[in-house]
């Protein structure tokens, strides 16, 4: 539904987005990850036609955003929850948006209800907490009942209930067959929400893969083995091309192979196992590994 092709955006001599190509599929939550300054927000602005790409294209259903008639009915996006006139009520804000895209007026009350803002709809936006502004921004994104939804850091400022609510919302939007594209810094949140991950660093694509593959691909995802014949098994595993670390007298850690393969090697060698299990890397660990070379504003490792 969203298709980026060789998308680049240069500011001066620095590329904020550098030759980015990817396709976002409907029916899935795609998490958009990257360090600060990696180009996530710029990418979203390019998709929405707010910024002009230096080169390349960003298409939605084959069409550039600027060519979509009544675009809020196709793409709903929340970029910055604070981007509201502080003196205008949430209701008036949504009513104006609805009018601009020929959206039925009753939708305003519906989405306000859906995000739990019905009670605060007449309050001036400047008097809303960040969490309430986020809810209002999400309401605006949902207003046109769009096929594509884009959220930039949607859980910022939300309380735990709000975070859980957003998680459920993303899930249900994707389950309805919509394309959901969400950026976040919160890895644990992404691990719970996303089906697919796009990771960028310094504007370049680092990874575009299903969440499960990203985690399986991490060097920190390993098979742990406990056996009285650890030395023998280590030799056999290495012979089979599997990297092995000896953790203790009876313990091995094998990386780069599935648990089935490690078990098969042990079976073929006739080695008794007392324990065989997979230790999955967290998304956070996998992410750190992926981006360790491209952290734009990293603090640097102590002592490194």
């Amino acid at each position: 539904m969203i298709s980026l092709k060789n998308l680049s955006k240069r500011y001066g001599d620095r590329f904020a987005v550098d030759d980015l190509s990817l396709d976002l599929k409907p029916g899935a939550v795609t998490g958009f990850l990257g360090p600060n300054g990696a180009g996530k927000s710029t990418t979203m602005r390019l998709v929405l036609g707010l910024d002009r790409p230096t080169s390349g294209t960003a298409l939605i259903g084959g069409v550039p955003y600027r060519k979509i008639r009544n675009p809020l009915r196709t793409v709903g996006a929340l970029l910055d929850a604070r981007a509201l006139h502080p003196g205008r009520s949430g209701h008036a804000h949504l009513a104006a948006l609805a009018r601009s895209n020929g959206i039925a007026r009753r939708r305003v009350a519906e989405v306000l209800e859906a995000v739990g803002m019905a009670g605060a709809a007449r309050r001036r936006a400047g008097a809303l907490s960040l969490g309430m502004s986020q809810r209002l921004g999400i309401a605006a994104a949902l207003l046109g009942d769009p096929e594509v939804l884009m959220f930039d850091e949607p859980v910022n400022g939300l309380d735990p209930d709000g975070v859980r609510w957003v998680r459920g919302l993303m899930r249900s939007l994707a389950d309805e067959g919509r394309t959901v594209f969400v950026s976040s810094h919160l890895m644990s949140e992404m691990q719970l929400t996303a089906d697919h991950l796009v990771v960028i660093g310094k504007g370049r694509l680092i990874m575009d893969a299903p969440l499960a593959d990203v985690i399986a691909g991490s060097s920190l995802t390993a098979v742990l083995v406990r056996t009285p014949h650890a030395g023998d098994l280590a030799v056999r595993l290495r012979a089979a091309g599997i990297a092995v670390d000896r953790l203790g007298e009876n313990e091995l850690e094998a990386t780069g192979a599935a648990v089935e393969r490690v078990g098969d090697v042990a079976y073929e060698a006739g080695i008794r196992l007392h324990e065989l299990r997979t230790r999955e890397a967290s998304l956070e660990q996998a992410y750190q590994e992926l981006t360790s070379h491209s952290v734009e504003y990293g603090a640097g490792r102590a002592g490194a």
């Binding site: 602005r45 929405l48 036609g49 981007a83 009513a95 948006l97 601009s100």
Partner: protein
């Protein structure tokens, strides 16, 4: 076409859903009434001192002069229509909803223009009535008259002038983006520049200043005085043409910036 009318509807809703619009228009009304009475009173007093014979002051004349002050209340309201969106970042929401830059700018102009026209005519009418009531007092010698055939064109002229200055401000605002920049630019164009040019006293500068929106507006509204005692050297029609040209130039500049620069 319907995209434009949808955008106009949205801009209309946005204009009236913030208090600043109401404050600016209330300010315009108060300013219009007070300055028209003051200016009318000054004219009447001066005429009486000179004997007062044959002097006739219509209630519309001070309204026309008062637009020089009132325009800044309109400018403030018109400016906020665009600069407040840049200040809050909500311009991005607006452009998400209506990606065609020209449509957004046109919608803002189409809302601001008629609203300021109406505000100008209504506040002008209240001011003219106030001038008539106040200056009917004996101390002003009863010089003031209310010939509807003259006053109504004055009020309509004031409305058109204020509407065009406001639309011009929308264009400048789209180009400048910040409130401070817009206000400075518009103030320089409407006040600073013409006064500076007048102060040089050079005929060429004087001629140039007469083509700026302020004097073009005064000419259009039928005023013949150029503040230095000299005449404005062209007709009302030509004044309107200059005013329209300035407005068009401001909108074109705003459009060019809006289209070229990232939001």
């Amino acid at each position: 076409m319907s995209t434009l009318w949808q955008a106009v509807g949205a801009e209309w809703g946005k204009l009236w859903s913030v208090r600043s619009t109401w404050w600016c228009l209330a300010g315009a009304l108060v300013l219009m009434v007070l300055s028209a009475i003051t200016l009318g009173g000054a004219t009447a007093t001066e005429a009486l001192r000179d004997g007062g014979a044959g002097v006739r002051l219509t209630a519309g004349e001070p309204v026309v002069s008062a637009t020089s002050f009132v325009q800044f209340a309109m400018v403030a309201a018109a400016m906020l229509v665009i600069t407040s969106e840049y200040a809050s970042g909500s311009i991005r929401v607006t452009l998400q909803a209506t990606p065609a830059r020209g449509v957004v700018l046109a919608a803002k102009a189409l809302v601001v223009g008629p609203v300021m026209f109406a505000a100008g005519v209504v506040s002008g009418a209240v001011a003219a009535a106030s001038v008539y009531v106040v200056l009917s007092a004996d101390v002003f010698g009863g010089l003031v008259v209310m010939p509807i055939g003259e006053v109504v064109p004055d009020l309509l002229g004031a409305g058109v002038f204020l509407a065009l200055v406001s639309v011009m401000t929308v264009g400048v605002g789209a180009a400048m983006r910040s409130a401070a920049g817009t206000l400075t630019a518009v103030f320089m164009l409407l006040m600073g520049l013409p006064l500076l040019l007048l102060m040089t006293g050079a005929p060429v500068a004087l001629d140039a200043s007469m083509r700026l929106p302020t004097f073009a507006g005064l000419a259009f509204m039928g005023s013949t005085d150029n503040l230095t005692g000299g005449p404005i050297p062209y007709s009302a029609g030509e004044g309107l043409a200059w005013l329209l040209a300035w407005t068009a130039a401001a909108l074109a500049t705003g459009f060019a910036v809006l289209r070229r620069r990232d939001a």
